[in-house]
């Protein structure tokens, strides 16, 4: 039988664990609200942007003079996987799910004879990808100092990727992140950003626009921005997903701790009762022996 003092100590320690997980859950809930607001507010820009891009891509996309960012380099030999994860752990399967999807893609590509390069954003993904693919790493973007995701951060990542594209380091770039559906569901997603593809659901507008200076120039000017916009949207989705995942993970942990405390308390009471009964038996049998 476990002794009473040990049990008491364990109950105390589980109780303090519950306090911590409860606090983390509440912090995550507050941060989630902020992250969702940020994602909400960025929507008017990205929606309009992508609508205009859809129009441009459909009219210029087919021609030979289309920019490489849209039409591709003509080959798909070297793939750049941009894996975006969080800087912190304790958020359930969030990072693992993104890394799993990226690993799956990397395996498929390697099996198909392609060359894979990996760029990570966020510490957790780097740690997970490094285990298997250390020799394919081309870079890492550190976001640990970023308190609040701003467009400038996304631009930084985009600049890095575009510089690599200019240097002909890769042909196709894909971003991996988690799409926020609700607090319990986050969907790991892969989205191709180079050659740029207009995401589903954006139709070319009916209006016939005049373009100034001209269509090609506008397209060439907007394409790099479109890539930054996609990365920014993905980072914001990721931010909301991370907090959502952490919130539900911590909620589960809090509940588990509660269950455990209940069980331990029952065990504690039983042991205490047993000790009392034992003592009584000893006293009674001692008295009878007299």
């Amino acid at each position: 039988m476990p002794n009473l003092k040990d049990l008491k100590n364990r109950i105390a320690s589980v109780k303090s664990t519950r306090k911590i997980t409860k606090a983390m859950q509440m912090v995550a809930a507050a941060k989630l609200r902020r992250a969702q607001e940020a994602a909400e507010q960025s929507r008017p820009y990205s929606e309009r942007f992508l609508t205009v891009m859809a129009g441009l891509a459909s009219s210029v996309g087919g021609s030979d003079s289309a920019p490489k960012l849209l039409s591709g380099t003509g080959s798909d030999h070297v793939h750049l996987l941009i894996v975006m994860t969080s800087e912190r752990g304790l958020c359930g399967g969030f990072n693992t799910n993104i890394a799993k999807l990226a690993r799956q893609r990397a395996q498929d590509l390697i099996a198909g004879g392609k060359k894979v390069k990996i760029l990570t954003v966020g510490k957790k993904g780097r740690d997970q990808m490094k285990r298997d693919y250390a020799d394919m790493f081309v870079g890492h973007v550190d976001m640990s100092d970023v308190k609040r995701m701003s467009y400038a951060d996304a631009q930084g990542v985009a600049k890095d990727v575009l510089a690599r594209f200019d240097a002909e380091e890769f042909d196709v770039a894909t971003i991996f992140f988690s799409r926020f559906q609700n607090v319990v569901t986050q969907i790991p997603t892969a989205q191709q950003i180079i050659p740029f593809e207009v995401p589903e659901g954006y139709e070319a507008p009916d209006t016939l626009y005049d373009y100034e200076p001209d269509e090609e120039a506008v397209l060439a000017d907007l394409l790099p921005r479109a890539i930054a916009t996609s990365i920014f949207a993905a980072l914001l989705e990721n931010g909301a997903s991370e907090q959502g995942a952490r919130m539900s993970a911590m909620d589960n942990a809090t509940r588990n701790a509660g269950d455990m405390i209940e069980k331990l308390t029952i065990e504690y009471n039983r042991s205490r009762q047993a000790v009392i009964t034992n003592e009584l038996i000893e006293i009674i049998s001692g008295a009878e022996a007299l």
Partner: protein, 141 residues
């Protein structure tokens, strides 16, 4: 005519405007009701909006303006109300332009057109500085 100014992070302004003066790459244009549908890229410059008898002024860089049947949307990567403009912001914008120019000179040496574009961008930034009344750094061409 509905006017909207949006940055990647949030919507900065949404109002009913009488006219909007846009700093387009090929020159300023003033948009009033029933303007032909146009999409133009922006150069760094001043965006002036006439609404209800007052003029709102914003400093914008990078992006485009979409003039449609229902109004004007300006999508700018950076947009700051003229009165909120600080020296730090001015310097940051200027440094961006200078960076772009340096990079253009470095990797696009064979395509003089693009270097000229970047130099123009830098000159536009300096013009914005004097417009807002803040001193901009000396461009290093």
């Amino acid at each position: 005519m509905q006017f909207e100014l949006v940055s990647p992070e949030r919507r900065l302004a949404s109002m009913d405007a009488a006219s909007v003066q846009i700093p387009g790459t090929d020159g300023d244009m003033t948009v009033m009701t029933d303007h032909a549908p146009t999409i133009t890229t922006l150069r760094p410059g001043m965006l002036r909006v006439e609404a209800g008898g007052t003029t709102h002024e914003y400093v914008v860089t990078g992006g485009f303006a979409e003039i449609g049947a229902n109004g004007v949307s300006v999508l700018a990567e950076r947009a700051v109300a003229k009165s909120d403009m600080t020296q730090d912001q001015m310097d940051a914008m200027f440094d961006d332009a200078q960076d772009a120019y340096n990079r253009a000179k470095e990797i696009r040496a064979t395509e003089p057109g693009l270097v000229d574009d970047a130099a123009k961008l830098l000159a536009d930034m300096v013009a914005v500085g004097s417009e807002v009344g803040l001193s901009s750094k000396q461009p290093n061409l």
